[in-house]
């Protein structure tokens, strides 16, 4: 074996975008002495090849000879009058290196077999820097969790080779421990199990008369983790609501689930039982939808955490029923404002701008590589997300209706397919169930997972073929808890035995427990009838995807784990899945005593409108949207950006998932954490109303809308936090019944809190994301929010009320207020139905929902998107009696409101459709590029499209 080092960099005269980007980042860090940064990619190759071959590899494979240069060996710092230093960033041993894997493949094609490859990044910083600056730069260039930094030209990267593992059984003595001792075990092993759970486990093993093995405790900890079992939402709750007691035996079952159950929609195929909720799409196919969070990993490693967040949620539809084809992604992020001063960032936390950029890049690189369009998203900013950013990733799948269910049978083989198992992601499930601290980046670096999208894409390509050939009987994804959860879940009713040494590993040295609980990415578990084994293994091999038989489903309802023939663990499936005791939680909600601010009325609100348009939450997300491929699969109908110049914010996305059909799916979301500071009940209802409104705006059928919940809360051991969660859950039930809109799937992420060095805590605001999907019968009937034609009438539909509480208008002034937007569900639901009818009849040519920033922002967006002016008189606006002030009329965020554009000759038809609803003619679309909002004689807002555009655009980037 020879060792070769090949460095590749841009040739003089061609751009070095990475070096340039690093230089710009250094400027942001306040380092101005670095004049230039030269970046290079470093390939370290161990292979049987001579110098001539190494040269060929450099020239033909690794270097673009049109615009790059290479150097074999270690290039010196360029000579010259200016000082320069070198920083090299290497991946830590065992971290997935997709580029290296591809180079191995390519070397094989060039006749160099059995190569071992690593890659690194080298940066030459031209200019003098101090040692402390150098360390600061290194921290910015490399992520401690997964990368290693080497300074200078002489140091060598650490050896990547690991030693093989020798079996060593480990019993954990717990039989005689008291509560304190049990908790210590839980803490020491990072099990995140509480005293009651540890006692349950102790009693189980006392009955067996032996101590548990490490692998058994770990299996229980994974399966019983908040992340996997949602014990908080399923717990018994004693609620004190303003002094009035309410009791729940199972919070989730009596709120969110119950609504779906009572509605019993025949078009709901599978709800809350599989990896994603499944509803009818057309005669032959169904759509399934799942949204997950990947918050804790994204806090530690924004790029990798977010990438594996999207990678993981894509495997949910892939693991639903017999496997769905992923057809769309959604991404919703919550960050602290990117302009937060560094001094306000607690120790152990990355700056929000770095988190934001990393998260966006991670989602981009994984989603785009998978060939799945990212069609919907939102970004929400609040200072309280500083240590706990929220990363919601969703995926929509298409699945034949006759493949919507699965059934593993005793005798089937346990087959793991896709990526190999490594030490990455260990304890992800338990780690994500606890709070974060300033030491987390050190202690839980192994919980970060590294993805390789192409491994997942390859696996997907073959899985769909295997599904259609009927070669397996069940499938599930290897997500949190790894094999332990996947096999444990699949064999819950029948039992399974697994030979852990058969699991293909990325590198040697993993012990049996690590193999079992690793959360290495891009793996799925399928159950294969033995008679199909040969065919399915050959099918996977034919496209270079690994598939390995690792065990068997048995029928004895035991989980048996072996390593090289030695039994290393045995648990009863019943105990594993049913043994966790039910807990009772205390919850308190005291309606806060808030009041409305006393703001002087003004004559002109133009500057307020422009300020809201350029606020972090409202401002255009075009910089992000354009980094995502929203066109791939060729099904795009209503894009995230619409209108004459393709820059208007669409309310929802519509895709046509089957190339041969005009039936569509609309996707949207609703979320408003600020309302939760006033009342989480109305926050939740507002989020649901908003998601539904958004879907209605583009033409989705109101009777075919389904929603998903994602609860992200703080520490629910605190009764107040739990009480806030209960309020939101109650709203979910009321909304489901009131709108006749079922919840079909959901997920929670609790404990989103951070304990600072000084012991103080930062909790996120109660955050409920509602994701909605709706069916569109014929996509040709869809409409968009951009104003279409001068001369058309504009109508406001729905009542504007004195509801500025939690609004962006108040936020501008640092006020919260008290009058949170409420919802009259029955009327809202009727409005949605009428709007839909008007869209189908072609009476409405554009429709936009009023949400953040109220009517004024909605009008500004419609004008800008249509590249047309709008002239409005608020005297036509339907308002409640207490909505007396101009600022309320302009900026109140009352729910259930739409602005619609109606051609003059459809006026009568429209009025008939809206009969008995609050609606009013407020103005018209005009040719001149102005936005004028008046109330009778007084002009409240007067601006033009250029001012609107420059306020709204280029804020984020």
């Amino acid at each position: 074996m020879n060792q070769w080092r090949i460095e590749v960099s841009s040739r003089k005269g061609f751009a070095d975008p990475r070096g340039q980007a690093v230089r710009d980042e250094l400027r942001e860090l306040g380092i101005t002495t670095v004049e230039a940064v030269i970046s290079a990619r470093v390939y370290l190759i161990e292979a049987e090849m001579d110098a001539a071959m190494a040269k060929r590899v450099a020239e033909e494979l690794l270097t673009d000879m049109v615009c790059q240069d290479y150097y074999i060996g270690r290039s010196a710092i360029p000579a010259g009058p200016v000082a320069a230093s070198i920083i090299e960033v290497h991946l830590k041993s065992g971290v997935t290196d997709p580029v290296a894997e591809s180079v191995v493949t390519a070397l094989k094609d060039m006749g160099v077999p059995n190569a071992f490859v690593r890659t690194a990044r080298k940066y030459v910083l031209v200019g003098s820097i101090t040692d402390s600056q150098r360390d600061l730069i290194a921290r910015n260039l490399a992520n401690d969790c997964i990368e290693e930094v080497i300074f200078g030209a002489d140091a060598e990267p650490p050896s990547p080779h690991t030693r093989p593992y020798e079996l060593q059984l480990r019993d954990i003595p717990i039989l005689d421990l008291d509560d304190e001792g049990l908790l210590q075990v839980s803490k020491k092993m990072d099990l995140f199990l509480n005293a009651a759970e540890m006692q349950t486990i102790q009693a189980y093993f006392q009955k067996l008369g032996r101590n548990p093995r490490d692998i058994e405790l770990e299996t229980l900890a994974q399966t019983w983790s908040e992340h996997c079992v949602h014990k908080t939402l399923k717990s018994r709750v004693e609620m004190d609501l303003d002094g009035q007691p309410i009791h729940f035996n199972n919070l989730l079952k009596e709120t969110v689930f119950r609504g779906t159950q009572e509605l019993a929609k025949p078009w709901c195929i599978s709800v809350f039982s599989d990896n994603a909720g499944v509803i009818e799409f057309d005669e032959t196919d169904a759509v399934c939808f799942k949204v997950e969070t990947h918050n804790h990993p994204s806090a530690l490693d924004p790029y990798g955490g977010a990438a594996t967040g999207i990678g993981g949620v894509i495997r949910d539809p892939m693991g639903t029923g017999m496997g769905a084809k992923p057809i769309a992604n959604t991404d919703i992020f919550c960050f602290a404002p990117p302009d937060t001063p560094m001094s306000e960032v607690p120790r152990g936390v990355l700056h929000p701008r770095r988190i934001m950029r990393g998260v966006i890049s991670g989602v981009r690189d994984y989603g785009n590589r998978m060939g799945i369009p990212t069609v919907n998203g939102a970004i929400y900013f609040d200072r309280r997300y500083i240590a706990n950013p929220l990363v919601f990733c969703g995926n929509l799948g298409l699945i034949p209706r006759d493949k919507a269910f699965k059934h593993a049978t005793a005798g089937d083989l346990v087959v793991v397919v896709g990526g190999r198992t490594g030490r990455d992601g260990i304890h992800g499930a338990t780690f994500s169930s606890g709070e974060m601290t300033h030491e987390h980046d050190q202690i839980f670096s192994h919980a970060v997972q590294i993805g390789n999208a192409i491994t997942e894409k390859k696996m997907l390509d073959v899985l769909l073929q295997a599904r259609d050939q009927g070669l397996y009987s069940a499938i599930t994804d290897c997500g949190a808890g790894g094999l332990s959860s996947a096999v444990g879940e699949m064999g819950a009713e029948i039992g399974a035995e697994v030979d852990l040494e058969k699991v293909p590993l990325k590198y040697a040295g993993l012990n049996y427990t690590e193999i079992w609980i690793s959360e290495a990415q891009e793996r799925m578990v399928i159950s294969v009838p033995p008679e199909n084994a040969e065919r399915i293994l050959a099918l996977f091999a034919s496209e270079d995807v690994e598939a390995t038989v690792i065990g068997r489903f048995t029928g004895d309802r035991q989980l048996v784990l072996r390593y090289q023939g030695t039994e290393v663990g045995r648990l009863e499936m019943e105990f594993l899945h049913e043994g966790i005791g039910k807990q009772t939680r205390k919850a308190v909600w005291k309606t806060p005593k808030l009041s409305e601010p006393n703001l002087p009325e003004k004559d002109d609100y133009t500057s307020e409108l422009l300020a809201i348009l350029s606020s972090w939450n409202v401002a255009s997300k075009e910089w992000v949207i354009r980094q995502y491929d929203h066109e791939v699969q060729a099904g795009s109908v209503v894009k995230p950006l619409v209108g004459a110049r393709h820059d208007g914010p669409s309310d929802a996305a519509v895709i046509r998932p089957k190339l041969t059909s005009d039936r569509g799916v609309a996707i949207a979301c609703g979320m408003n954490p600020l309302y939760g500071d006033i009342d989480p009940y109305w926050m939740a209802l507002s989020g649901i109303d908003e998601a539904i409104r958004n879907l209605i705006c583009v033409g989705a059928r109101p009777d075919r809308i389904a929603v998903l919940d994602n609860f992200c809360w703080g520490d629910c051991n605190r009764p107040e936090t739990m009480g806030s969660l209960v309020r939101a859950a109650q709203a979910c039930y009321d909304a489901a019944i009131g709108y006749s809109t079922p919840f079909i799937s959901g997920k929670d992420s609790l404990n989103n809190e951070f304990r600072c060095e000084d012991g103080s805590r930062i909790a996120i605001p109660a955050t409920l994301l509602i994701s909605g999907l709706g069916i569109v019968d014929d996509v040709h009937q869809c409409i968009t929010m951009d104003a279409k034609r001068a001369g058309n009438w504009l109508f406001a539909v729905g009542l504007t009320k004195n509801e500025l509480g939690g609004s962006h208008f108040y936020k501008l002034r640092g006020e919260l207020g008290a009058n949170v937007p409420r919802v009259e569900i029955a009327r809202s639901s009727e409005t949605a139905r009428r709007i839909h009818r008007a869209i189908l009849q072609g009476v409405i040519v554009s429709c936009h929902d009023c949400s953040e920033g109220g009517l004024a922002v909605a009008l500004a967006e419609m004008a800008m998107a249509g590249d047309l002016g709008i002239d409005v008189d608020l005297r036509g606006q339907p308002c409640s009696q207490d909505c007396t002030r101009a600022d309320m009329r302009l900026f109140s965020e009352s729910n259930s409101r739409y602005v619609v554009e109606v051609p003059a000759d459809r006026f009568d038809a429209f009025a008939r459709l809206m009969l008995n609803l609050p609606f009013g003619q407020i103005g018209r679309v005009v040719e001149e590029p102005h936005l004028t909002i008046r109330q009778g004689g007084s002009i409240l807002v007067q601006t033009d499209l250029n001012a609107i555009r420059s306020a709204w655009q280029n804020k984020i980037g």
């Binding site: 894997e101 180079v103 094609d109």
Partner: protein, 265 residues
């Protein structure tokens, strides 16, 4: 008359194969998606096809450089059969990642027998990171240039989307660019709606001379960065709700290819 048969090549990370096959079917061809391993096992299967399409995606993750690993695979396993395929008068289309593969394997512009490992390191044209160094997804206008390329309709400007992070055409030197221009190798240029060239976003990646696509000396190979297969339905246009009925622009390329194949092959 026999149907025109199209082989749409799949490989790890290719992800526009289904819609590319569908676009050819809409244009009246029969399309089959084939994994590269099958073609390497049995290269003679190419003889059953008249059009070979390299669809978009991220072959092998675009590791090392976009399209590079797949180009390497093609160069080491499929050069001869593909060269024969072209010599037999058949058509090759590369879209986005497929274009990157055709360039990096030397099929485009295909000078001096550039295909093959010997001169693989001496290619005249390549493709690199966008000037704005990030992935970009937006709609662009393309002006057809070469009168030789059978895929285009002279004078018909196309509005179709681009979606890539590495789409900037670069040439080894000025002489290469001059030859591309003078000898009609430029298939498409990025322009605005009125046909004028310009900076970002009209030319979304900073490609030299606004080049969006290239052809070879026969005119039967087309490689382009934007995605014609993503505008084959009226509702794909980004402001279709403002427009009336019209034939989707991207379909032209597939129709031209299929019609050429029908009448010549």
């Amino acid at each position: 008359m026999e149907t025109v048969r199209v082989l749409v090549l799949r490989a790890a990370g290719v992800n526009c194969d289904e819609e590319t096959a569908y676009a050819f079917e809409l244009a009246g061809a029969g399309a089959q998606r084939v994994h590269i391993n099958r073609l390497i096992e049995n290269p003679s299967m190419l003889e059953d096809f008249t059009i070979l399409a390299f669809p978009g995606g991220f072959s092998y993750g675009d590791d090392v450089a976009a399209g590079k690993i797949l180009a390497n695979q093609v160069v080491h396993h499929l050069v001869e059969p593909i060269r024969r395929f072209i010599e037999n008068g058949r058509l090759v289309l590369g879209i986005c990642n497929g274009f990157q593969v055709l360039l990096k394997a030397g099929f485009l512009p295909g000078w001096d027998g550039a295909v093959g490992s010997k001169s693989f390191a001496e290619l005249p044209v390549s493709i690199t990171d966008n000037d704005r160094p990030q992935y970009e997804c937006r709609w662009v206008n393309l002006e057809p240039v070469s009168d030789r390329c059978v895929f285009l309709t002279p004078g018909q400007r196309l509005c179709i989307p681009m979606a890539h992070g590495e789409g900037k055409i670069v040439t080894r030197d000025a002489a290469v660019l001059a030859r591309l221009q003078n000898e009609n190798y430029i298939a498409f240029r990025y322009v605005d709606a009125e046909g004028r060239t310009g900076g970002f976003p009209i030319n979304p990646n900073g490609a030299i001379d606004s080049i969006a696509g290239l052809t070879d000396s026969t005119g039967r190979i087309l490689g382009l960065m934007p995605h014609p297969e993503r505008h084959i339905h009226r509702t794909q246009h980004p402001h279709w709700t403002r427009l009336g009925e019209r034939e989707p622009d991207g379909l032209t390329i597939f129709r031209n290819a299929v019609n050429y194949a029908k009448s010549h092959l």
